[in-house]
């Protein structure tokens, strides 16, 4: 199988990797670039654990080929915090205990960020629909929704 050289932007940094043409972007992020925030849950786009933002749109990185990332802009959970300062979403997830095992958390944070980027003050229903593609099997969705609501409020400067 021919290896392909890919140049892309991840969290603002220009990066290169070499991958096989049928390798997923999730595997490239994790195994080629060492960015292990995005997780593999189902591998078929059902669970959302691998969610990232690609050119401003929330996607499952398990359903994107690594070669498709050429010259595109990727945001992953690793880019949320600024140095030691957590992003308000991350801080509110901790304050509201909106995570237990943490496997779904990077994907949910990116889904929540994508939602708030487009809709800074979503209703509870909009949050629940916005996060419907992310499965959590231990925390329960209520704390997650509360954390997103609180983060939205802070980001709005309320």
């Amino acid at each position: 199988m021919p290896a392909v050289h890919v140049t892309t932007t991840v969290n603002g940094d220009r990066l290169d990797y070499v991958c096989e043409s049928d390798e997923t972007l999730l595997d490239c992020l994790r195994d080629r670039l060492g960015l292990t925030g995005a997780k593999e849950g189902c591998g078929t786009g059902d669970c959302g654990a691998c969610s990232i933002i690609l050119d401003g749109r929330l996607v499952c990185s398990c359903l994107v080929l690594g070669v498709e990332a050429e010259n595109r802009e990727i945001e992953t959970v690793e880019g949320l915090a600024e140095g030691d300062n957590l992003h308000p979403l991350q801080r509110k997830f901790l304050e509201h205990a909106a995570l237990q095992c943490g496997i779904c958390t990077p994907g949910i944070l990116m889904a929540a960020k994508a939602l708030l980027d487009r809709n800074p003050s979503p209703t509870e229903e909009e949050i629940r629909f916005g996060l419907a593609g992310n499965l959590c099997r231990c925390t329960g969705y209520d704390k997650i929704v509360r954390a997103v609501q609180d983060a939205a409020k802070e980001l709005q400067g309320a």
Binding site: G43, G45, R57, L58, V59, C60, L65, E68, A111
Partner: protein
Amino acid sequence: MRYEAPVSLEAASALLAEAPAQSFVLAGGTDLLVRMKGGFVEPELIVDIKHIPDLQELRLDKDGFVIGAAVPCAALGENVELSAQWPGVVEAANLIGSKQIQGRCTIVGNLCNASPAADSVPALVTAAAKVRIRGRKGTRTVAIETIPVGPGKTSLAKGEFIEAVLLEKRRPRSADAYLRFIPRSEMDIAVVSAGVDLERDKAGVITKARVALGAVAPTVMLVEAAAAAIIGSKLEDKALTALAEACSAACQPINDKRGTVEFRTKVAGVLARRAAQIAYQRAGER
């Protein structure tokens, strides 16, 4: 596997015309990558059409809307004019999967995957959408319902691919609606679905209608008897009952764990009835 990302329609067409048997067009990839991972397909060639500028366009020109084959479903919902003129089509496209899936999936992919339960297809059939197909010898335009011919099978010839879905401009006092049944509120595939497009005169009498059903036969079904049942009416109870009966009579569903034959047959009528009421009300507001 060879991966190609042509930047012109001609280049894509040339690649697909000479392609090996196991060749696939990649737009959103939300079906193709799942099938690859499951070992159901082993592509020798993937042609990514997202770098072709024409296919990324969603535009309204003098004849109507042109929705390029690489436009993700999320972009349909973000288009104010399309959402205003074809709410049923947009609702259907935005019922597919999650936000993650909608950011990648396309209506042309939904069509060419040829699942009987595809959500956007019945809505596009009621909208009398056409598709522009490109092959080695140029383009041809056909009615959208001629594309799926059975589960997983389309009428496209080898080397052909769909460039765009074409929708006419909305006529006055007309509207569409689409409803599906799933056992939860989000993230599922239609068990039964119904789309209705209708036009009424100034007195409220229906002058034109199209009714399509999904997930109750091997392909989407345009049910002419159901349209005939409401044309000439003001959607009174009698007309609604006749519409529901015509829809149920047309159903040839499978029996599976997601829905029995009896359930699907009955619910097809119920959904068509409700979709017709929504479309009728919307048409009255125009």
